[in-house]
């Protein structure tokens, strides 16, 4: 054999034979691996661990002394351990909701909808559900403040009264500035204030104004009101730039009514057209959605008017041509549904609203879907008056101003001007409960109670009243603002008495029973107040259309400012529940961004990484990250209000930018639409968004989303259903349904069998259920960084999928790309409580097991944190506690409800606060199941369907979530699913509702959660 003389070398260092190489050549492992670089070795670790275990077990032997402190004088109706419920009213500016407040040991811990209300019908919104945490906001003032120093109420009352009297005697102007005030008694207390100080004027403004609509109705019908709408009677709905399911008008009412038309009762559903720039929650629910620029809204409406006018035989108006085929389709459908249709527009331009009125008038919708006789009071602000006030203040004509729970320095477009003008106002008072942007500039702060600590009333609509009652004694030394007004005007400061006296006028018979019932119900309707007046349309459509045509010119880039359904107008800016709630469309949390179309941005998001852009409007430049958003009209961008707070508190300060200064006032009305002078410059700065969902489509998997059109559904109720089959030798055909094949013996449910159904057609993605779940189950908020790390803790998430045609794609990357204007579907996703749960079989310590009632139970104290279950869960609904989220400074900002003394008062005492290292997930609100069963047992009666519902189902305004006992033939879920063998106690029920399906049916895990197919009313 010939010797091989070749030298093989491993690398350049061996060839050169340098000293370092020679030294290491003999050792088997690189030094960095064999010798641990950290200072403590493995042995040290073992020693320390051994010692700590011994120390810990020694320490654990001595249990701490725990106290049990009973009431000194127990209130008759409060029993520790038993929840009390009080009807009350959520009021935040003009936002209204009749609510039921759950209290435990005198602490409000949950707010849910009041089913007795004919206005909100038991519905809630994310903001209402989250408001209970605002009560325990650490940023709230502890008491009165005078010139920046803590003071007493007596002292500030004395100073304020003497200063006001001096100003009034010199005929100095006094102004009370507030948002819309819905409470008649509050307005009366302000009137009383005016009696003592006659130079007082009450100025109302709204963060997002609807004053243009009131003006339009004055021009159209001679009455300056905003009518109430009834979407439930509409067969065809056309929305133009109006996000009526999330922020426009009365979103809770609208959602409830809209859902009634989407539940396929008698195989019917409404058809919804939406014309808009940003992809809104409402637009994502539309059957036909068209992308337009904000400047085109008027033209779309004028074109619709012209088509209808030609059918009705009335003259056409001037309309800029718009090339959208949906316009004629919408107009034709509207005409077919005359008297049963509804057109709404989000614009605050009176001209546009007059055209909307004209269309509805042509369609005969007044008296059916629109009720002018029952005007709503939600938005009564008038920015013309507000502007006049700011001008007066700037020119030194205002001597005193009282900011009544208003924060115009932050949320009015002229906030900066107002802030400067305040130095010229001699006496400045705020009743804000936190030292916000405005309150930090005033002389005296007389902090108001939270609404859950207050007596109040409200009149959301004409003839509809509701009461708010305190559910806790004021936590801090705060005082109701109404009492302050009464005291400052030398009246008795007892607002409760004052309120009762006002209500005495409403009662017909004996007052006490009337009052007790109104307080118990929370609502009172007086139909006799509503007169039946016939209004005639007198608007001048022609001149309004001319105005539209000449006022709106398309810009290169148009800015559409919008309100989010989560953080809203920013007044609850210190509430982590709202910051961490993913935006229903973008799925982004804790951030403010510019939504931009793919075409305009020129890139797609990769793992939520994005660039930022500078947006310049009229000399003002704002830098924000870009959210590349399918469905955003090309040539437009969208930015949300409500961010950029600087004095909201620890949680909400310095998130995003304040967009209010960008708003404009066009002909006396506020506008969120800026068509002129907007420029966008994309920078190369990389920004990480915190999205909870970064994939956009369901990649064509029909086993997740199953949908059909209404026509298909009418022919076959099971249209759109996907029926997977599994190949097997066991059957002759060689394949069986997945549910026929199992390794397990199956469960028998002799008692109850809990199930949940989600109607994907009724669900509009509003996310109130997510907040309700968070509050009910003590779920920690984790903050932006942890969301980026994919460690959000919510048990219930809403998956939003864009559907795009997938026929012509060749690879997965293509599949994930959503269309320019995609169809959207929302899918609430929580633990599916599988009968053959994959998580149960992999847990090494049996910490997750199955109950005899069909629940998949999670036992925190048994869990050792292997996370096998989460890995094996096909639905990815299990959440791992990577940290101790309570009593941990790291999460003090994001999760105050478990880290501040006062925040902890909101926790539900029936649900364990989980510790680090354990898994958790949706429990079907097992604490509610157990307490509902116990009530029935105590009454010695059968369990009724109404005894138990989950927090998510209770919060769902649309009624899309149904929870119940599938073994009970009388339950709502049995009726909905048409279960035929309810009493048999079988694991798999025979159900005749053909729309019902399981997500990922082919894997055969047999969930107890069912989804009903999405049906779209389109050809």
């Amino acid at each position: 054999m010939k010797d091989n003389k070749k030298t093989y070398w491993k690398g350049i260092e061996q060839l050169s034979n340098d000293a370092a190489f020679v030294k290491n050549a003999e050792s088997e492992f690189p030094e960095s691996v064999t010798q641990e670089s950290s200072e403590s070795s493995r042995r040290d670790f073992l020693k320390i661990m051994g010692f700590s275990v011994a120390a810990a077990s020694l320490a654990a032997c001595e249990a701490p002394v725990r106290k049990a402190i009973p009431y000194l004088n127990k209130p008759v109706d409060v029993d520790p351990g038993v929840a009390n419920y009080y009807a009350s009213t959520y009021l935040n500016g003009g936002d209204y909701c009749s609510v039921l407040v759950k209290t435990r040991e005198g602490r409000p811990i949950k707010v849910s909808g009041n089913k007795l209300s004919s206005v909100t019908n038991g519905g809630t919104s994310a903001q209402v559900e989250a408001s209970v945490l605002s009560l325990y906001d650490d940023a709230r003032l502890r008491g009165a403040k005078s010139k920046g120093e803590a003071s007493t109420w007596d002292q500030i009352d004395d100073s304020i009264i003497s200063e006001l009297e001096k100003i009034a005697s010199n005929d100095g102007n006094i102004r009370i500035v507030s948002n819309t005030v819905l409470s008649p008694s509050t307005l009366k207390s302000i009137e009383d204030f005016k009696t003592k100080y006659p130079t007082t004027e009450h100025v109302m403004y709204d963060q997002v104004s609807m004053s243009g609509m009131a003006i339009a109705n004055e021009r159209s019908f001679g009455t300056k009101i905003i009518p109430s709408y009834d979407f439930s009677k509409a067969e065809v709905i056309v929305g133009v730039g109006a996000d009526f399911l999330s922020t426009w008008g009365a979103p809770i009412e609208n959602t409830y009514q809209y859902a009634q038309t989407r539940k396929l009762k008698d195989k019917k559903m409404s058809r919804h057209f939406q014309f808009e720039s940003n992809l809104t929650l409402t637009g994502s629910n539309a059957d036909y959605r068209s992308m337009i620029k904000p400047s085109e809204e008027g033209s779309v409406l004028a074109n619709i008017y012209n088509i209808l006018a030609s059918k009705a035989g009335v003259p056409a108006v001037k309309a800029n041509k718009i090339d959208k085929e949906t316009i004629s389709k919408a107009a034709n459908d509207l005409w077919k549904a005359k008297g049963k249709s509804l057109v709404v527009a989000g614009s605050n331009d009176p001209s546009i609203q007059v055209v909307v009125n004209a269309i509805n008038n042509l369609l005969g919708n007044y008296g059916s879907t629109i009720d002018l006789n029952t005007p709503v009071n939600y938005r009564k602000g008038d920015e013309a008056i507000m502007d006049a006030f700011i001008n007066d203040a700037s020119s030194g004509k205002v001597a005193a101003v009282i900011f009544f729970n208003a924060n115009p320095v932050y949320d009015y477009y002229q906030g900066e001007k107002l802030a400067a003008a305040l130095s010229k106002v001699a006496l400045k008072i705020s009743t804000s409960s936190v030292e916000d942007e405005t309150a930090s500039l005033v002389d005296y702060i007389a902090p108001d109670n939270h609404y859950l600590e207050s007596w109040n009333d409200a009149s959301p609509k004409k003839g509809h009243y509701s009461l708010a009652q305190p559910t806790i004694t004021p936590i801090f030394k705060t005082r109701q603002a109404q009492s302050s007004f009464l005291i400052w005007s030398d009246n008795d400061g007892d607002y409760f008495k004052y309120l009762q006296n006002n209500w005495k006028e409403k009662s017909t018979g004996s007052f006490q029973p009337f009052w007790d019932k109104a307080l118990h119900d929370g609502v009172y309707n007086n139909a006799s107040e509503i007169e039946n007046v016939e209004y005639e349309f007198v608007g001048d459509v022609n001149s309004e259309a001319n105005a539209i045509s000449s006022n709106y010119k398309s810009g290169d880039v148009e800015l559409m400012i919008y309100e989010k359904s989560t953080i809203g107008n920013g007044s609850q800016g210190n509430n982590p529940l709202l910051h961490e709630l993913p935006d229903p469309i973008t799925k982004a949390t804790w951030d403010n961004y510019i939504t931009m179309s793919v075409a305009d941005a020129g890139f797609r998001l990769d793992d939520a990484k994005t660039k930022t852009a500078n947006v310049t409007v009229g000399g003002e430049t704002i830098n924000l990250p870009i959210m590349v958003q399918p469905g955003q009209a090309s040539g437009t961008i969208g930015i949300a209000l409500g961010y950029g707070r600087t004095s909201a508190g620890r949680v909400g300060d310095n998130i995003g930018k304040n967009i209010y200064p960008l708003l404009v006032n066009v002909n006396g009305t506020q506008s969120l639409r800026i068509s002129k002078g907007v420029s966008v410059e994309v920078t190369e700065e990389v920004h990480q968004l915190a999205q909870t969902q970064t994939q956009n489509t369901f990649m064509g998997r029909e086993t997740i989303i199953q949908e059909a059109t209404l026509e298909e559904f009418k022919k076959d109720e099971g249209a759109g259903r996907f029926h997977p089959h599994v190949a097997t030798w066991q059957s002759e055909s060689g394949q069986v349904k997945p549910e026929e094949l199992t390794l397990w013996k199956g469960h028998e449910y002799n008692g109850h069998h809990w199930g949940l159904t989600i109607d994907m057609n009724a669900c509009n993605g509003c996310s109130a259920c997510v907040v309700a779940c968070n509050v009910e189950n003590n779920i920690p908020m984790v903050g932006k960084q942890e969301i980026i790390n994919r460690r959000e803790m919510t048990w219930l998430r809403i998956d939003r999928y864009y559907s795009s045609a997938t026929d012509d794609v060749t690879d997965y990357a293509e599949m994930e790309k959503s269309a320019e204007n995609p169809e959207v579907v929302f899918q609430p996703m929580m633990c599916q409580h599988c009968n053959n749960a994959p998580c149960e079989t992999v847990c090494p310590v049996a910490a997750t097991t199955h109950s005899t009632e069909g629940l998949n139970q999670m036992v925190y104290n048994r869990c050792i944190g292997t996370r096998y279950c989460a890995n094996n869960c096909p639905y990815k609904v299990r959440r791992f506690n990577w940290f101790k989220y309570h009593d941990n400074d790291q999460f003090a900002d994001a999760n105050p409800q478990m880290n501040t003394e006062i925040g902890k008062m909101v926790l539900n005492p029936d649900v364990t606060v989980r510790s680090r290292g354990v898994m958790e997930k949706c429990s079907f609100c097992v604490q509610r199941i157990q307490s509902g069963k116990l009530e029935a047992k105590k009454d010695r009666r059968e369990l009724e369907d109404s005894d138990i519902t989950t927090a998510c189902a209770a919060a769902c305004t649309a009624g899309a979530i149904t929870f119940g006992d599938m073994n009970n033939a009388k339950s709502e879920i049995s009726n909905l699913m048409k279960i035929e063998d309810a009493e048999k106690g079988k694991e798999i029920k025979i159900m005749k509702n053909k729309r019902a399906y399981h997500v990922l049916e082919e894997i055969g895990v047999r969930p107890n959660v069912f989804y009903l197919t999405k049906i779209r009313n389109k050809a």
Partner: protein
Amino acid sequence: MTRKSLTARILKTFAFTALLAFNFAGVFAQSIPTDDANISNGKSLFDANCKACHSVENKLVGPALKNVYDRTPSVEWIFSFVRNSQKVIKGGDEYAVALYNEYNKTEMTSFDSFSDEEILDILSFIKNETDNPAVVEVAVADSGDASQNNEAVSSTYLNVIVVGLIVVLALIFVVLILITTVLTKYVNNKDGLDDIDKEVVNQSFSLGATLTSKPFMFLAVFLFTAIVFKVVINGLFSVGVQMGYQPTQPIAFSHQIHAGQYEIDCNYCHTGVMKSKNANIPSPNICMNCHSAITKGTNTGEDEIKKIYAAIENDQPIEWVRIHNLPDLSYFNHSQHVNVGGVECQTCHGPIEEMDVVKQQSLLTMGWCVDCHRNTELNTKDNKYYDKLVELHKEDSDKALTVEDNGGLECAKCHY
């Protein structure tokens, strides 16, 4: 004859007196019923309404009710006094006014909803208690002793056997030693033994060598490790277990006096036990229902009761030391057990009516809970909630329906 007639006369007189006495007794027999049904109804009414202030044997807030039907003016008087005592007192009734003054002018609660029959039932219960002072307890104690005796007998028997065996073994041992000694002597005396044989015969037992031998060392180490291991394991299992915990409370309240001697119903103070998760420690306003009148305690005099007054005056709640501490991770509901399940307080809390200072009687570990859930029959009587379950269970099994059969061992019944 005269003797005869005398006897007859005596008999007649006796008979007449007896008849009179009988008739007299008959009046009571008519007004105060003696049926068991009436007595038991009276007992439940008494327990629910009267017990807080009255006892049959002892004087509490109100007088002892023994013989009340004899010492008061009439049964009608009792009717009107029970329904509205103030009216009777204001009416100037002598007996009532005297009573009112004797009891520090404490007003008796009016029970105007009571019918004549109901008050009679209560009286029948009192009469029954007066005539037959409680002997039930003694009987219970007796039966307890008896069962202990049975056990004692069997264990003595075992001991005798063990001792006998030990004696036999000792005898065998002695005999064996004797035999060995004799045999060794015999072999030594014999000639012709070589060295090796001698060595074997005269082998001496060395304690030191045995102790240092490997098998012994191994055995000793093994035993030591095993014992230590077992002790540690047992110790770890008892971490957090506070059985017998008997802290000193801020007020020396005695359950033995309140619940034992005066037989106040547990519900009267622990108001939540039937409706809530918590049994509730009574708030001082409940104490004051009685202690506004009773200012002196049986054991402690006035000092301890004064602490209640101090709490109320200073607006400072009483900070009791919590004895039964379940960890936060487990959910326990009193009403489920007491109201629905019909479990007696004593089942978990032990003979609370005998405790001067309350201590934790039970383990309160999960094993303890689960044991009870396995063995306890579900209280389904007159509860429609369980009807379907009972029916289904009867089809499947002829054993009793236990809490376990209703899912009482499932994790999420207590842990959520």
